[in-house]
Amino acid sequence: MTSPAPEFLASIGLETHVQLRTASKLFCGCARAFGAPPNTLVCPVCLGLPGAMPTVNREAVRLTVRAGLLLDCEIGLRSKFDRKSYFYPDMPKNYQISQYDRPLCIGGKLEIEVGGARKTIRLTRIHLEEDVGKSLHFESSSGVDFNRAGAPLMEIVSEPDLATPDEAMAYLLALKQILVYGGISDANLEEGNVRCDINVSVRPAGATRLGTKAEIKNMNTFKGVHRALTYEIERQIRVLRAGGAIRQETRRWDDAAGRTEAMRSKEDAHDYRYFPEPDLLPIELTAEEVAAWRADLPERPAARRARFVAAYGLPEYDAGVLTAEKAIADYFEAVARACGNFKAASNWVMTEVLRALGERQMDIAQLRVTPAALAALIGLVERKVITMPTAKEVFAHLFERGGDPEAIVKEKGLAQVSDTGAIDALAEAAIAAHPSVAADYRAGKKPALQFLVGQVMKASRGKANPQLAAEALKRKLEG
């Protein structure tokens, strides 16, 4: 995207809230799940009943630290929880247990790529906190579903290093990719796993100090973030051009109207009255524990992409497609290692596998074609046991029902016909059926041969060895 007004620069920082992929909630044993009937995944703790007390889910701590390690943060070996007070119907206790001045992860960075240019976005911190419930509004009343209340939420705060809506989008996509890679979050936007607050300011080009920022709260789609930023940057530039000043305020994005509107000014900002959570002990981590978690980290997407180019000789683009999702990259590597033909493995995964999954809207986890089966299939083509069209037929069969490609080829009699006698007969029949094409070939139109090969293939239902068919035809036409 080109800047709408090159004489102005925007600075964007994002606070991204990501629900962690734990089995249970952050401070109680209730299941963390989406789509259950309202208020069925609750207990005294996550309902904030009088006398109930929180206890920390260590898995949530581990996943947050894992995110911090993947994002090059410094890990706080001694961090703590704090209470953040404000009244809201979806807050069971009217305070949220969060982390104020001693978060689990400090600093960090994320690489993004926009229009071929790479840029490093600095992170401020990552902290762990509990999610709130969900307000539901009916005709004449309102309700709150507390199923989500207490779910572990990680807040990733970036520095205002992003300059355009496209960069913000690239940041969110890269963040999502790395979190899914690490098994840290499902990052499922439909289930509200990722939500984000935007800080954005504009300043004249050349100015060193950042302009006054506005905050846009509660964005829950990446597209929404892009649209809201595009609108808000233009709005702020308009105000500045007209000689006005930006007010420091919180704004709301109205998706239907396509604009942001003022919610509250800085003067009405909440005083959250943070103080250390007395019901929980500080979170202590040992250097050994963190070292063990570091050793357990998956390869980061960018590193894996580079390795795919270097180790498998793949084009940059193909490596990018194959490493977009960890499960696909894992699948590709398993196939490539099993068959030894990296190019073929990459072609198969990028075309047949991804196309078939896309058509059925399926996830690679649901794929019935095991890496071993696909590798075997590639081997059959390589050894000329079957032709490419037959291989695609076998793949379709594997996709539906799974199984072993060699067994399928045998069972269905799909092996390539290399019997020269049979091919000679088919070649003769093809020439006889298309005398004019044969005449064209003899008159020097060499491409006419391809048509006749096609006829032989068709007559053999794809089983004829195309090279042998071409040789037989040539022999007969030229001989």
Partner: protein, 496 residues
């Protein structure tokens, strides 16, 4: 013949074992005593009469069938302060804002009591949300002192202490944030124990100030207090602050002599403002301990003068968040409003009493932007200094002896118009909570007017055995509750 309700738990436990009485007889006698005197004392807010009778019958049946007792408390009734959750029972903290709320789960201590076969007799009155020192802040009216019904029973566990002293309960569980077990025990002539912070799980105790609250027993003597503590103490994974330390046999530590023990008298606890009768009784108690073999000498706790101020900042800061959940949205009383904010304001305005409001406002202020460092943070530093005072003192001595409260029980209404005077009455108990250590209150005599006076025995963290040992030896040597010729508060005294 003495009423069953006049005995101690351990005495009744022996009678049950000997077949001299039944659980049903004990429960019925208590219910009779309650029917006779609760109208005057207002010690109970809610009675569990039917269930208690049924549980007693069940305990008798088990005993008749030859089953061995589940614990020394099996078949014996215990009262609960109204801030301890018990499944199916109201848990109103003596507040209007929790009207209609019934706890859907058991507190850890209630689970322990049920497993021990104890019978839950009823719920005792308290200062609203445990905020107060006289039980006059109950939304349902004050409790009266059984020794003089014109006087307060102390607080905030005043209902529990009055019930135990007045013969309406054998023992009770209370909570102590700044003296709320020890001070009413002292005002009513009972034994009250504030355990070490973390010794007893707080799970299910409605929080007032989470870093200070602790549950403990109010009983007729030190043996009963030791027995109850043995049942409720121990690690509970649901309370992260509960300690993973072995629970000793507290009764085994009880003896007659104090030979070899070094007992300190904190100079600051015998300073200005101390009632002369209280001072005389406490010093006499120290002499008695010396006679029992202890070495007694003066020690210093120099930061004592700052304890009350630090406490009222920290406790109210925590309370301002702890009580935020009472908003009329999910449970308890609701006053409808135009929007959520209006609903909160109307509900909380109608639901909380003046002292609770005062403390929420004070606490919210102490935490506000720009004031946090000056108030909350500074108070935390004072807390550290007070903890160090005790650590230094405990390098020289094994336990400390002090009065529990500067005065004996005062008249109803005497301090209600002067919150600060009321707060200063907690000066001798608050430091123990700030330091997270344990304190025991045992009767140590009477004023000439016949009001009980309490002796406080302060021991280091997890020093409950030592405090109980000192208290028990002193109690056995003096037997104040049996010997006094003062007007009896109840059917208890003189009839044993």
């Amino acid at each position: 013949m003495a009423r069953l309700s006049s005995f101690a738990l351990h005495e009744l436990s022996a009678k049950l074992a000997a077949g001299e009485c039944s659980s049903v007889e004990i429960v019925n006698d208590l219910l009779d005593a309650i029917a006779e005197r609760n109208g005057e004392l207002h010690a109970y807010l809610w009675l569990n009469a039917e269930e208690a009778r049924a549980a007693a019958a069940e305990a008798d049946r088990r005993r008749a069938a030859g089953e061995s007792p589940r614990s020394p408390l099996d078949g014996l009734p215990v009262a609960l302060k109204d801030n301890l959750s018990a499944r199916g029972q109201p848990c109103g903290c003596a507040s209007r804002i929790l009207e209609g709320y019934r706890a859907p789960y058991d507190a850890h201590v209630v689970e322990r009591l049920r497993a021990a076969g104890a019978i839950l007799l009823g719920r005792t009155n308290m200062d609203e949300f445990a905020m107060g020192s006289s039980t006059e802040n109950s939304a349902y009216g004050p409790t009266r002192n059984p020794w003089d019904s014109e006087r307060v029973p102390g607080g905030s566990s005043g209902g529990a202490a009055a019930a135990v002293a007045g013969g309406l309960a054998l023992a009770a569980l209370g909570s102590d944030t700044g003296g709320s077990i020890r001070q009413p025990a002292s005002f009513c002539g009972c034994v009250g124990l504030k355990p070490t912070y973390g010794r007893v799980s707080r799970y299910g105790l409605v929080a007032y100030a989470s870093s200070l609250d602790q549950i403990g027993p109010i009983a007729r003597d030190t043996r009963d207090a030791a027995r109850l503590l043995g049942i409720i103490a121990g690690r509970d994974a649901r309370d992260s602050t509960s300690l993973d330390a072995a629970v000793p046999d507290y009764e085994a530590a009880l003896g007659e002599r104090l030979d070899g023990l070094r007992l300190g008298l904190p100079r600051e606890y015998f300073g200005a403002g101390l009632d002369p009768e209280v001072e005389r009784a406490a010093r006499a108690a120290a002499e008695q301990c010396r006679a029992l073999g202890a070495e007694v000498f003066e020690v210093e706790l120099p930061h004592t003068p700052y304890a009350v101020a630090a406490y009222y900042l920290l406790a109210t800061a925590e309370a301002s968040a702890n009580l935020a959940r009472f908003d009329g949205v999910r449970y308890g009383r609701r006053v409808e409003g135009e929007d959520p904010t209006d609903l909160y304001q109307r509900t909380r305005a109608a639901g909380f009493g003046p002292e609770v409001k005062r403390r929420i406002i004070l606490g919210a202020f102490a935490l506000s932007h720009g004031y946090y460092d000056a108030y909350y943070l500074r108070a935390q530093k004072v807390r550290t200094l007070i903890r160090r005072d005790f650590e230094a003192a405990f390098e020289r001595c094994d336990a400390l002896l002090a009065p529990v409260a500067p005065t004996p029980a005062y008249r109803l209404g005497e301090k209600t118009d002067n919150p600060l005077a009321m707060y200063l009455g907690d000066i001798l108990t608050i430091p123990v909570n700030l330091a997270g250590i344990c304190g025991l209150s045992v009767p140590c005599g009477f004023t000439p007017g016949g009001l009980p006076i309490g002796l406080q025995i302060i021991a280091p963290a997890l020093g409950e055995e030592r405090a109980l040992r000192v208290g028990h030896a002193y109690e056995q040597a003096t037997r104040w509750m049996e010997k006094t010729s003062h007007a009896s508060p109840s059917a208890i005294r003189g009839q044993r």
